[in-house]
């Protein structure tokens, strides 16, 4: 969307790749996640447009830049700078054993619902989130449906005749 590729200072020192529609996609270790986002916020990224989680358990192919250790889970955050009219995306790798990452709630309160949704459907925990409860599924639901080891849960389609005389 922008012709020249603007440099994002906050991403210096981290692995980045290009992707259509965004200025850069950065791979940030989870220890630095919050501080990098804070730096981005200071750098005129006014809005967090999206947070979502991906479970890479059974992915066929997946290319990551040098030095990024692939883990099962990934949190993908899209930030938008309205004044510079660019987007950036951050991908954070999270291990299966402890899929926890810092919440962005303090920086962007608008991520509240998105993080809850990610927790609900993918089962990623956000440390510091004010109210991490299920948002879409009933409270007593077990499991996280968007994980790849969770089946789609369909029932086989049966064709049955109408009971009784017509």
């Amino acid at each position: 969307m922008t012709t020249e590729n603007p440099t994002i200072e906050a991403f210096e020192g981290f692995a980045t790749v290009a992707s259509p529609g965004v200025a850069a996609v950065a791979f940030i270790p989870r220890e630095h996640y919050k501080s990098v986002v804070a730096a981005l916020k200071a750098d005129a990224f006014e809005m967090a447009s999206d947070v979502c989680g991906v479970d890479y358990l059974i992915a066929g192919a997946r290319t990551l830049p040098e030095g990024v250790k692939p883990e099962r889970f990934e949190v993908v955050t899209s930030l938008l700078s309205m004044s510079r009219r660019i987007r950036v995306r951050i991908r954070v790798q999270l291990p299966d054993a402890d899929p926890t990452v810092d919440s962005l709630f303090d920086l962007y309160p608008g991520t509240e619902a998105m993080e809850r949704e990610t927790f609900d459907l993918v089962g990623i925990r956000f440390a510091g989130h004010p109210d991490l409860s299920r948002i879409l599924l009933p409270e007593e639901w077990e499991g996280h449906p968007l994980r790849k080891d969770y089946g789609i849960g369909g029932v086989p389609v049966q064709f049955k005749s109408t009971p009784g005389p017509r």
Binding site: V54, V76, M82
Partner: protein
């Protein structure tokens, strides 16, 4: 925040207790609520950490439960626009706290998308935002095409613009109708549906269905515009434009309508940005942010239109924005009508495009190819992409990750209504219960998209 030791606060289970769920979705009496959480909810799930409303001294934690009342509204309620459920704490008629509870229409579409190929995907996404189905198809198709790296023919792009703009008009008309119903103006409801029907019959002519069209697909659109479409579109433009002035006469100056809209549900630009609110809700606060203009997709940089912004961020601003966006969309449609290029309506790329109907009858090759495209689908190169467009409700985004197979590895839709709903507690706070209905209506949530 200092709490009197004598008040026993029963803290409900907080993070982390069990594997499945922490906290609770519902609103609890003040006594049963953890003080920090109460603070946030009074600041009203506003959840702006630095917001002035969060001044702890302002929060009346010790207000006894006898004075207030928690009521439940929905999920089956006529004015919650579907199956939105709200829990409200009221002091008499005044709303103190609000908590939207959603998920009553959770359809598992993101999971379903992983089981459907890319070519079937738009059948799935079109059922999310059922008032603007073509926008959903568009964002999914754009994301797929970004991964495929194919270039659209100009006619396909223009047809997409035409259809989505008409869809914006029909969506806003529907909003005018339901909003009319919510404020008690039944005539507006009848009029809104009447005009919308006109657009729907054009859609039916073009796509075969009144809603949930599956018309915009990865690789172009499903069919060319029907013969004589210019006349139909011309009639739609003339009628809708003329009628939009009738709505003006009917509502804009009307005292009762103004009483219910002006100064109700206020939002400031800072709050809107912090809460990631987009669309008419954001523009009503005076931020001129419309993705068609600021980050153009399709060919919106080639058409001339105005971005409508409000000043006060109240219900009335949102009403005027939507009414005027109908006129702006008519303006865009007129330009598209005049400049519609000729050419292909889908890419001529053997990989993504099924062969034309005529060739299937004559050639075995074509038949096999057609069969393969529709049963197996096409492989999409590995990668991930986020594409956003301006739907009638705000930024509609699609995050698509492919692992090189014919099905999306992960598809995530950022629904604008889902995010916009977070502003609801803030809009309602301190208002009257009777205004709650108009506030919900002015946010224009479509539950299909909120819950997906």
């Amino acid at each position: 925040m200092v709490i009197d030791e004598n008040i026993t606060t029963v803290v409900r289970p907080l993070w982390p207790t069990e594997e499945t769920s922490e906290g609770s979705q519902e609103l609890f009496p003040r006594k049963l609520t953890d003080p920090a959480e109460l603070g946030r909810e009074v600041g009203s799930v506003l959840r702006l950490p630095e917001g002035p409303t969060l001044d702890p001294t302002q929060i009346d934690i010790e207000r006894s439960d006898d004075e207030t009342m928690i009521i439940n509204m929905g999920p089956q309620h006529p004015s919650t626009h579907g199956v939105l459920r709200l829990m409200l704490e009221l002091d008499g008629e005044v709303v103190l706290r609000t908590k939207p509870i959603i998920g009553y229409l959770h359809t598992g579409m993101e999971k379903q998308a992983e089981a459907l190929s890319f070519i079937q995907g738009s059948t799935n996404v079109t059922r999310m935002d059922y008032l603007a189905p073509l926008h959903n198809e568009l964002v999914f198709s754009l994301a797929t095409e970004a991964l495929l790296g194919v270039e659209m023919p100009r006619r396909a792009t223009y047809i997409r613009m035409l259809m989505t703009e008409l869809n914006r008009i029909s969506s806003h008309l529907m909003w005018m109708a339901t909003n009319g119903m919510d404020v008690g103006s039944t005539s507006m409801m009848i009029y809104g549906f009447r005009e919308r029907e006109m657009i729907l019959s054009f859609f039916e002519k073009t796509t075969g269905l009144r809603m949930n069209h599956n018309y915009i697909r990865p690789g172009g659109v499903a069919a060319d515009l029907p013969d004589g479409w210019e006349d139909d579109v011309e009639v739609i433009c003339n009628t809708v434009e003329a009628r939009s002035y009738e709505y003006d006469d009917l509502l804009t100056g009307q005292a009762i309508f103004r009483d219910r809209m002006v100064g109700i549900g206020n939002l400031t630009a800072e709050e809107a940005l912090a809460l990631s609110v987009t669309g008419p809700l954001l523009r009503s606060t005076g931020v001129p942010w419309d993705l068609r203009r600021t980050m153009p997709y399709l060919a919106f940089d080639e058409v001339d239109f105005d971005v409508i912004v409000g000043t006060y961020g109240d219900n009335f601003d949102r009403y005027s924005i939507r009414l005027n966006e109908i006129r702006e969309s008519v303006k865009i449609v007129r330009q598209l009508l005049a400049n519609m290029p000729s050419g292909d309506y889908r890419v001529q790329d053997r990989k993504v495009t099924p062969p034309p109907r005529g060739r299937i009858d004559s050639s075995m090759e074509a038949l096999i190819h057609h069969f393969k495209v529709f049963t197996e689908g096409f492989a999409v190169p590995e990668g991930e992409v986020y594409v956003a467009i301006e739907s009638p409700r705000g930024e509609l985004g699609c995050y698509l990750a492919s692992d090189g197979g014919p099905k999306p590895y992960r598809m995530h839709i950022r629904g604008p209504s889902f995010v916009n709903l977070q502003a609801l507690p803030l809009l309602m706070r301190g208002g009257l219960l009777a205004d709650a209905v108009t506030v919900i209506s002015s946010v224009d949530p479509v539950m299909g998209e909120v819950d997906r």
